[in-house]
């Protein structure tokens, strides 16, 4: 994207290939590889609590990226993302129960969710704006109801037990090991999205968002790409949900409500609409926010503030309120999200101390 200004002086490109790379300098690439390597070592020195947070960030981050491709990149709204996430979870459990090895079941669950997403996307991609929001709301309610009723598929209101993740007979369950599973998925899924956005179909998605009339004149089939965005988004949601199911070991319809869909929206708004890395930043923020409030509440335990506000009882309500407040604050003060803030910090350091 428009990161050209952030190149160090004297760094000139001598081939088009060098100019199309994801990482503008060798240092950024080194940082990323170093970061992933550091994460790969994380289970050695992080406690299970922090690992579980990282795993949460991983599978939610994949689903959030899916929603960002739909909302941020192709410019369509969806307030039913949670049910596609849920569908992926149920589908993977269903497949695993019928003898499909879990790693394959997760990928197949992603594809199955894609099919369902396309089913809802085909009519939805023909309407825009508020009407589309209502159409996706319909998907939310229809699928949520389906989860409760289709006992053969979801176990109904009781939910379904998810078999553990095994690869080549090696059990990968437990925070320490499952962490690697999620890490691999996150790296692959984020790499796919980054590549997609610098090639033909990704550009077409953004073109449809920015100016659909001229996109059409450039030969972009609007309906095809709008529907495709729903498909890709559902695939990511499905993979995220499947990873969740096998992590928790249990999948139930509970929690797959509209509030969860809104939380996904919050993640990408906070992270930055139309930014691949922003999806991850937003997820990190949204996962850590309740943890931080919890930590804050326990830090204040017994103090005057605690007594005055009944923090201990009110913490769940406070979280909801805080999420709402944060979304509003971001919309007003940082509509381009954390990804934009990150770019600005980088620009600041590049020009430091002559930041004007």
């Amino acid at each position: 994207m428009a990161m050209d200004t952030l190149r160090p002086c004297g760094d000139f490109r001598s081939s088009y290939g060098a100019d199309q790379t994801i990482f503008t300098t060798r240092l950024t690439l080194a940082f990323l590889i170093g970061g992933i390597a550091l994460l790969a070592l994380a289970p050695l020195f992080l406690s299970n609590y922090f690992l579980s947070l990282l795993i949460q960030i991983g599978y939610l981050g994949i689903a959030a990226l899916g929603l960002n491709i739909l909302v941020g990149f192709s410019g369509q709204i969806s307030i039913g993302h949670a049910v596609f996430y849920g569908f992926g979870g149920f589908a993977s459990v269903f497949l695993a129960e019928h003898g499909v090895p879990v790693p394959i079941a997760i990928v197949l669950a992603g594809l199955w969710t894609t099919a369902v997403g396309l089913l809802f996307g085909i009519p939805a991609a023909r309407v825009k704006g508020l009407y589309l929001a209502i159409a996706t709301l319909a998907a939310q309610f229809i699928l949520q109801d389906f989860f409760v009723r289709a006992e053969w598929f979801t176990g109904g209101t009781h939910g379904a037990i998810a078999p553990p993740f095994e690869i080549f007979g090696y059990d990968m369950s437990g925070d320490q090991r499952y962490f690697y599973v999620v890490l691999v998925f996150v790296v692959v899924m984020y790499l796919f999205a980054t590549n997609l956005m610098r090639t033909r179909d990704g550009r077409a998605l953004i073109a449809v968002r920015d100016h659909y009339l001229s996109a059409e004149m450039m030969g972009v089939n609007l309906t095809k790409y709008r529907t495709m965005a729903f498909g890709i988004s559902s695939f990511y949601a499905g993979i995220g949900g499947a990873l969740y199911a096998h992590y928790i070991g249990y999948m139930s319809v509970e929690g797959l409500d509209i509030l969860f869909s809104i939380q996904f929206l919050a993640m990408i708004i906070i992270g930055g609409l139309g930014s691949v890395m922003g999806s991850l930043l937003g997820t990190i923020f949204m996962v850590l926010l309740p943890e931080m409030t919890g930590a804050l509440a326990s830090a204040l335990q017994g103090s005057a503030i605690d007594k005055a506000l009944h923090l201990k009882d009110g913490i769940t309500y406070m979280r909801e309120m805080l999420i709402g407040a944060v979304i509003i604050l971001f919309l007003i003060f940082e509509p381009d999200g954390l990804a934009h803030r990150w770019r600005q910090i980088k620009a600041y350091w590049k020009l430091y101390p002559f930041s004007y």
Binding site: Q20, R200, I206, A207, A215, E216, G219
Partner: protein, 268 residues
């Protein structure tokens, strides 16, 4: 040079009771630079929209290279060789200039969702780079090298117009439709733009249909000119013929013209 590339046969376009175009017919030969002029609201852009597929006329037909394209979907028309620019800026404002122009090559690229996501495997990278080379030719031609990585929405008006032209050229169209390419430009920018248009026509061999209000430019560079008024064609011919045409003078000066009376009114 005598084959008709585009043949518009008596098309009529109505929006409810409003007649935007009434039985307009003309043909443009391969290699021609054809201008359409007329007062505001004469139906020039509607006509262009019919050719590019945004509107479909109720009557008449449009033939491109002998094929009927009247009902063809707009997104299919890039592949048969019709490109256009818009009157109001229509860039993808959050994308870089380079990406904007690359979208112009959408119909020429073959990589898809899957090969795109895999990038290094499956040839997407190689293909993207080959097309990047072609795009760079267009960037060189229009002299926008210095902004190729800039976000399109941040550019000045004149530059955006040029990027939009670049995007349409990158499509490698046989016929390019320019809707007021010089609107809102100063003299110098107009001269540059006129030069690009003539070069596209003469060196790149593109057939051009242009809507423009600047009579000086139109009369200087066009091979033939058509005049519309109230959705009707009132004249067509060489620039000098148009300048001498009394109907045209009346249309612009606002005098009574029997040619523009409603036929119903005449018969009544």
């Amino acid at each position: 040079m005598t084959t008709a590339l585009l043949d518009v046969r008596a098309i009529s376009l109505r929006f409810g009771g409003l007649r935007a175009l009434s039985e307009v017919g003309f043909s443009v030969n391969s290699g021609e630079l054809f201008s359409i002029i007329g007062p505001n609201g004469a139906g020039k852009t509607s006509l262009l929209n019919c050719i590019s597929g945004r509107y479909s006329p109720q009557d008449g037909e449009i033939r491109f290279e002998g094929r009927d394209i009247t009902r063809q979907k707009p997104s299919k028309r890039a592949a048969i060789g019709i490109g256009r620019t818009f009157q109001n800026l229509a860039l993808f404002s959050h994308m870089s200039v380079l990406d904007n122009i690359m979208v112009g090559r959408h119909h020429l690229l073959k990589n898809n969702l899957f090969t795109g996501a895999l990038y290094w495997i499956g040839g997407a990278q190689k293909e993207e780079l080959q097309h990047r080379r072609k795009v760079e030719d267009v960037i060189d031609f229009l002299d926008i090298q210095h902004v190729r990585k800039a976000t399109a929405g941040t550019l000045s008006y004149g530059l955006r117009k040029r990027v939009e032209l670049a995007r349409a050229v990158a499509l490698e169209p046989k016929l390019i439709l320019l809707d007021e390419p010089m609107a809102g430009m100063n003299l110098e920018e107009k001269e540059d733009m006129a030069r690009y248009i003539v070069d596209l026509n003469e060196e790149w061999g593109m057939t051009i249909i242009m809507i423009e209000h600047d009579m000086g430019v139109v009369m200087d560079i066009s091979h033939r000119v058509m005049v519309l008024d109230f959705g009707r064609k009132i004249a067509e011919g060489l620039p000098e013929e148009i300048l001498a045409n009394p109907h045209v003078r009346k249309a612009y000066l606002g005098e009574e013209d029997p040619l523009l009376e409603e036929p119903e009114a005449l018969s009544a």
